[in-house]
């Protein structure tokens, strides 16, 4: 028994919703049961109607569509989400999938891709607009290289005070001078220093200088005029 799949459309542009409805109307296997122009209404509709599929715009007047995906999935877990958005930036696409969307289509492709996308998502597959998939794959391919470049994770674990101390150490100040500068005791300054060395995995002042130069805290490669 093939029941019609029930659809809710959430988009703040009424004419665009009309367009989507007309495309969907061509297929007897789908039925638009509700529509909404804001995130709040959209959430209410999906809660109430528990549709099979929600078509969601990521930029809505009252809230981010990304948040909305999360809320829809919480209140109506059986609903699948397909994003139909004006945004083509990779950050939006990645975030939408991370939050639980099953598909992503940019608005201008809707005429050609909407039904294809809906079919895929309804079957439980992921779907990505071919006009954006190129940059996503490129990003994925490039990712490992970027990851290894981020070898300064340790620095992010420093406290603000420790950040203050690192740069002073790198500038060649002694513990006593650092203590004076920051109005702390030499003992406290020494503690900061050893915590920093531990967190950053460094062993000598020279290494601190090199590390600070690499991050850009100081410049050791000054050009002479």
């Amino acid at each position: 028994m093939n029941q019609k799949k029930r659809i809710v459309i959430i988009d703040d542009h009424p004419l665009f919703r009309e367009g989507l409805k007309s495309i969907i109307a061509k297929e007897t296997r789908y039925e638009v049961v509700g529509e909404a122009g804001t995130g709040r209404q959209g959430l209410q509709k999906t809660k109430e109607l528990k549709p099979d599929l929600a078509l969601v715009d990521v930029s809505l007047p009252d809230q981010s569509g990304i948040e909305l995906i999360r809320e829809i999935l919480e209140s109506s877990p059986q609903t699948l989400v397909l994003i139909v958005s004006m945004h083509s930036k990779i950050d939006y696409i990645v975030k939408a999938f991370q939050t639980g969307a099953m598909g992503y289509i940019v608005k201008e492709s809707a005429a050609d891709m909407l039904l294809k996308g809906m079919d895929q998502v309804i079957q439980g597959n992921y779907f990505m607009d071919t006009s954006v998939s190129h940059q996503v794959v490129k990003k994925l391919v490039g990712m490992p290289a970027r990851e290894t470049a981020a070898d300064d994770v340790g620095y992010d674990t420093l406290t603000p005070r420790e950040q203050e101390v690192v740069i002073l150490l790198a500038e060649g100040l002694t513990i006593k001078q650092i203590a004076d500068r920051l109005y702390i005791s030499p003992k406290t300054a020494e503690n900061h220093r050893s915590n920093i060395m531990h967190k950053l995995g460094l062993h000598s002042t020279i290494e601190v200088v090199r590390y600070a130069a690499k991050l850009g805290l100081i410049d050791i490669d000054l050009w002479k005029d």
Partner: protein, 359 residues
Amino acid sequence: MSGKPTYEELERRIRQLEKKLTDSNRIFKNIQDVFCQTDFTGNIIEISPSVERYLGFSREELIGQSILKIYHNPKDREQLLEALSGTGEVVDFEFCAKSKDNRLMFGSVNAHILYNADGEPIGVESMVRDVTERKRTEKHIQTLSHQLLKAHEDERQMISRELHDSVAQDLSTLKIALGIFFDKDSSFQPETKKKFSELSKILDRSISTVRNLSYDLSPPGLKEFGLLQTLATYCEEFEKNTGIHVQFHPAGLKKAIMDPFIQINLYRLIQEGLNNVRKHAEASQVVVKLVGAYPDIILRIEDNGKGFDIQAREQQLDNEKRMGLRSMKERVNLLQGQMTIQSYPMKGTKIWIKFPFKE
């Protein structure tokens, strides 16, 4: 012939000295600036009568008093003494003075250490110039240029939003609507349909242009994904579009909560910096380092391009009214930060920016 000077000779010299003294006194009374001598404890030994014009205190009221009486912030005095202890001389040191009726004035000080006849330091001698009016004008100009930058930014955001949420949106709606229209009615001639598909391609192009324009005007995703993610994406796209290799190294800012004002200005600084590299540097590589160094943030943009003569460029900029580096400087001022540029022919250009950051 040597020996004791004659009586006439002595009288002549005394008259000369008397004249010098009267001249000095007249100058002392009539100078515009304020001349001041203090001992090392800060007591005023001598001060010119001109002080009354600026601060309302008469010379007699001040002599023997502590100099701090006319300082708005005693820290300024400490800094002046500290600066003096270096070379024994200070030029154009600015401080904030307070008048008898508690108005704030700005003075610029030239000072040096005062010695007695035996060459021992006994105090400080200084000449102070009233720069209140200049300070006010500077402040006024700064306020205006800040407002200008802000208005510019607001307008960009507004236009960007309109383009993205209205124009591009309507074009997309139009595309869908036309598609449905031509699809529904099969009575259209194949030629008409072919024409439509051509027009549809033009629509696609317009949408893509409008969208890029919008993204260019205002960074998408700053609010949703944060500054670091948005910058990383921007740098990647810059690299893709220009072929200039960009390394973006943020550090120590993952936990930082920056207000939107700092975020947008940092984004713009990097955008402007990279655009300068693209337009002028002929570089193959740029490194962008953004580091949290509490209580500051440090930004470095370093390229390996052809470099330039900084002074000549600044003059040229003044003549051409080009905005590149100047608008970066304005922005840095806006963030109350500092910026230096180093450039060396055939080695490249390094921009260093530091500004205070409070959460």
